[in-house]
């Protein structure tokens, strides 16, 4: 097996402001750079029926200016200071983050606090961001070959509305939104007590704490949002669907399975089982399909990690005139092989080394540290999990992988989406 490996723990300090804002500091002076991440506990999972797409619409609103930062200035401030920034939305959360020279920590905190305190939720901003989201939907989903398949398969896998609907949401719902709806959404979900602030990199902890207090301390807290139910039955909602994709140049397919939540031992086992199937040039399916048979142009797979029921996918774009069902048989045969015989000793060694390698590399960048710490703080209430997760993964046994692959993947309880090109060609 792999050699023993001890990774020194990250230095973490966790505390809360009086208004409920959870703060995690991770000091690391190796490079004079600082990363700030603000994670709000709101994602598409929080959206009600008839109001989908709100969480993501909000991510756009957050760049439209606040009391002291004009529209589009956020970006200019960061850029002129030599930094980088962005924001993203998932089913689980909405995050905002920037990396800057260490001396610019006050700027990052000023910018983040100004929009948490005083976002400009106006009719004009709402109208033009609605249009921007529609544009983004056309660009990233409707006008991309295979752009809609992940949203479609989530509808096939999940039965609970909180899980099954897309993050981009419905354009009709966005049209129905009033400024009052949006102001209310901001009040509830963008309150300091519904967020985690992480600072990672080079800083004096006392200075950082003082700055956090100065900028965030007097933002009022709000009633905690009602908790949501993301429970799911074991069966997938729908086994088979055919999708005519007007832009797809080739047929393709995507298989998805419903699996237990993140950080459960079965989720870990399936994450590792999935890597053996599709991760890297030496993976089982790459060697069988891309190399061996040369039947596939592109092969991909990944796990979608959620606080509730999660999912795992394998997909392929076959070469022209290749038999799709035969390729799926190869995939299911490899799954059955892992379900029966489990991973080989060589494969376990590969997994262990890759896990250690990934875990060490993640620690290099202040931004990736800040993001991971914020996730553990927000989802699990425990940022120190960043120091123990590697151990949890390394402790997964070959038999746990075999058992979980057998129980969750080696089954008819899966969703198959067949993509057929329906274009001009």
């Amino acid at each position: 097996m792999s050699q023993t490996f001890n990774l020194p723990p990250l230095e973490l300090e966790e505390y809360s402001l009086e208004n409920g804002l959870r703060v995690v500091l991770n000091r690391d002076d190796s490079v004079p750079v600082v990363a700030v991440a603000v994670y709000y506990d709101v994602g598409s999972r929080n959206e009600r029926e008839g109001r989908t797409g709100f969480a993501h619409l909000f991510e756009h609103m957050m760049f439209q200016g606040s009391e002291n930062v004009k529209k589009a200035e956020h970006f200019q401030y960061i850029m002129k200071a030599g930094g980088t920034m962005n924001g993203t939305t998932s089913s689980e959360r909405t995050n905002y983050f920037e990396t800057l020279p260490a001396s610019q920590l006050p700027l990052a905190l000023w910018l983040e606090s100004d929009r948490m305190r005083s976002l400009a939720v106006t009719q004009e901003n709402l109208d033009n961001q609605r249009e921007a989201v529609k544009e983004e939907k056309r660009l990233r989903y409707d006008n991309q070959p295979y752009g809609q398949i992940f949203d479609l398969i989530n509808e096939m896998i999940y039965k609970n509305f909180a899980n099954s609907h897309s993050t981009i949401g419905s354009m009709e719902h966005l049209d129905d939104a009033t400024v009052e709806d949006v102001q209310e959404f901001f009040r509830i979900y963008y309150a300091p007590n519904n967020a985690v602030l992480t600072i990672s990199g080079s800083f004096e902890p006392e200075t950082a704490k003082q700055l956090v207090e100065t900028y965030f301390g007097d933002i009022p807290n709000q009633t905690k949002p009602a908790s949501i139910d993301v429970a799911e039955p074991g069966e997938v909602a729908e086994n088979y669907r055919e999708w005519e994709d007007p832009l797809a140049p080739f047929p393709a397919f995507l298989v998805g399975w419903k699996i237990p939540k993140r950080r459960s031992s079965e989720f870990y086992a399936l994450y590792l089982g999935g890597k053996l199937l599709y991760d890297g040039d030496s993976s089982r399916l790459y060697q069988k399909l891309v190399k061996g048979e040369e039947s596939v142009i592109q092969l991909f797979g990944f796990t979608d990690e959620r606080r509730g029921p999660s999912s795992i996918f394998v997909g392929a774009i076959p070469k022209p005139d290749k038999d799709l069902s035969r390729i799926r048989d190869v995939i299911m045969k490899e799954i059955a092989d892992i379900a029966t015989n489990g991973p080989t000793a060589d494969e376990m060694q590969k997994l262990h080394n890759q896990l250690i390698n990934d875990s060490v590399r993640m620690r290099q960048s202040s931004m990736s540290r800040a993001q991971q710490i914020a996730e553990f703080a927000l989802y699990d209430g425990d940022p120190t999990l960043i120091n123990s997760e590697l151990e949890d993964l390394l402790n997964v046994t070959p038999d746990q992988i075999r058992g979980a692959v057998n129980k969750f993947l080696n089954t008819e309880n899966r969703s198959l989406l067949d993509v057929r090109p329906a274009g001009k060609g």
């Binding site: 800057l100 660009l139 590969k350």
Partner: protein, 568 residues
């Protein structure tokens, strides 16, 4: 605690020093230079074995062989098959790969430091014993030819090809890619032969960055590479890039293009030129970023485009300065006017204190962010070594940027930005573009996408035809993924000036600068989305009361066809 002052951005804290240690260098008897840099932040190691010869060193009958060798190195050796290599590398959680540039051939490896010696052995394996298996080479050739076809469909590629020819003339930097027949001609023998000539220790540098024991590493490096025989270093005798003395224009005709891809380029300087720092600051002010002058002018003020930039591309032996943008065809001439305004302004006027400070802050600010990861740090060190930059280059980079004054910026702008002798390359609909570029060009050539010259006269006629009257209300039917979407177009056409509006399901767009040439209409409709103007380009042909054409936007991958009638 004092009441926070929130209405202005806070001042930065005192700057923190960023100290990079110096690398250690050892040269083996066979000439292999070894550069060691201790990075003990985390238990990782990164290697680069780089040869100071790249695509530019290829003989003209073997174009493409360098990148083929790079791709094939990990596809089989004397001891391992392609699959066994993949398994050996990934079982360590490591990565080993090879890539080329015009100047260099670089084999890269990285892993946890506990596998440092295994990875170095694997690098030696692929360097000394590649077999270039026939079946793997076949697969590579098929994929490379497919990829080339795709590239030729991309306007940026076509523009880059012409820019390289114009700037570098007979110098090998003028070749941006092998042709399909170059790739067809590749065979195992040419790869083997090239491998034997290129891979010599006296033209190579081995860089290691990471958490390693220097003596152990050196012992292993001597063991693996010490017995490697010297060879003849490739002769470096290239033609000088030509000097231009007028503004030449090359239009690559791509009929039906909704956009014009514009590149202005002139010869500038090589990477080790001491003007590098002043020129980098100058370029940051002028056009490197989204808060630089050309972006603020062409995109933010004029709304011609999604992006407009300038860049410096200094290579080992020479380099160029470029200004680039993609605009809707109707504003090609206007974009050239604004580009020349900015290229002259940076030469004629001193930059303001704020502009100079913003540019320097950006450059000194991003520098440590680039060195956060070991891969980033390694790339900085490798570049310093390969381009032969001073040994304290990384340590003094930020000071050297800080030293630059507004006078320095004017001086290097006058030296390296040459608006009067710059070459203009435009990929797009030549008939639409030609009349717009005349006043900016001393000479004009039109070629097709394969580079063959086209007859200018046929484009002149098109341009001189009398224009039809486009005024009125037009009802169009737009083909959106097989669905017919109604669009209404209202046009006023006075004195060759075309204005109006377009109504679609997603809103109304205003047309301000449309044009009619003969029967051909080009116009752009601007709508405000997300605080940014989004532009739809409309191009069509009018025949009495019928119109047909296409609608496109930077965000739509393929333009959408429409047809319609004048209803009033």
């Amino acid at each position: 605690m004092t009441q926070p002052v929130r209405n202005t951005a806070p001042s930065p804290l005192p700057p923190m020093p960023f100290n990079i240690a110096q690398a250690k260098t050892v040269t083996l008897e066979n000439g292999l230079k070894i550069v060691m840099f201790a990075d003990k932040r985390l238990p990782l190691v990164s290697y680069r074995l780089a040869f100071l010869a790249g695509d530019a060193n290829e003989p003209t009958d073997k174009i493409g062989v360098t990148s083929a060798v790079a791709a094939m190195m990990t596809e089989g050796t004397d001891n391992y098959s392609s699959r066994e290599l993949a398994e050996k590398i990934e079982r360590l959680g490591a990565a080993v790969s090879a890539a080329t540039t015009e100047d260099f051939f670089i084999v890269a490896g990285s892993s946890l430091s506990m596998y440092a010696s295994d990875v170095l052995s694997l690098i030696a394996e692929v360097i000394f014993r590649p077999t270039f298996p026939e079946d793997e080479l076949d697969l590579y050739k098929r994929n490379a030819i497919e990829n080339l076809k795709f590239q030729r469909s991309q306007p940026n590629f076509l523009a880059g090809e012409q820019v390289a020819k114009a700037v570098y003339g007979e110098h090998p930097y003028s070749i941006v890619s092998p042709s399909p027949s170059d790739i067809e001609n590749l065979n195992r023998e040419s790869l083997r032969d090239f491998h034997q000539k290129l891979f010599i220790p006296n033209n190579a540098i081995l860089v290691v960055v990471g958490d390693i024991e220097e003596n152990e590493f050196l012992d292993q490096a001597r063991d693996l590479f010490g017995g490697w025989n010297r060879g003849l270093t490739p002769s470096v005798k290239f033609s000088e890039p030509p000097r231009r003395e007028k503004r030449e224009t090359i239009i690559v005709d791509r009929p039906g293009s909704a956009q014009a891809n514009i590149v202005l380029a002139n010869i500038a300087f090589s990477r080790n030129n001491p003007d590098f720092f002043a020129a980098t600051v100058m370029n940051q002010i002028l056009g490197a970023g989204a808060s630089s002058r050309v972006f603020m002018n062409l995109r933010e003020e004029k709304g011609y485009t999604y992006g407009a930039y300038t860049r410096l591309d200094p290579k080992r032996l020479a380099g160029d300065f470029e200004a680039t943008t993609e605009v809707r065809t109707a504003v090609t001439g206007d974009s050239l006017r604004e580009f020349f305004y900015e290229l002259n302004r940076i030469r004629d006027e001193k930059a303001s204190d704020d502009e100079l400070a913003d540019a320097k802050n950006f450059l000194t600010g991003v520098f440590p962010i680039r060195a956060e990861t070991q891969e980033g740090l390694t790339n900085l060190i490798v570049n310093q070594q390969l381009y032969g930059l001073p040994s304290d280059y990384l340590q003094t980079y930020r000071d050297n940027i800080e030293k630059i004054t507004a006078d320095d910026v004017v001086r290097v702008a006058n030296k390296y930005v040459q608006p009067d002798d710059i070459t203009i390359v435009i990929v797009g609909d030549a008939g639409e573009i030609l009349p717009q570029v005349r006043e900016y060009a001393d000479s004009i050539r039109i070629i097709d996408t394969e580079g063959h010259p086209l007859d200018m006269a046929s484009f002149e006629q098109q341009a001189d035809e009398p224009s039809v009257d486009a005024s009125g209300t037009w009802e169009l039917s737009l083909d959106f993924q097989g669905q017919k979407v109604p669009v209404s177009l209202e046009l006023q056409h006075d004195d060759g000036k075309l204005t109006g509006k377009i109504e679609t399901v997603i809103g109304t767009g205003v047309i301000e600068n449309g044009s009619i040439r003969g029967k051909k209409l080009t116009a752009a409709a601007i709508t405000e989305i997300q605080g940014q103007s989004v532009e739809f380009s409309i191009s069509g042909t009018i025949d009495a009361d019928s119109i047909e054409g296409t609608l496109s936007a930077p965000i739509i991958p393929d333009s959408l066809a429409f047809e319609g009638k004048r209803v009033s």
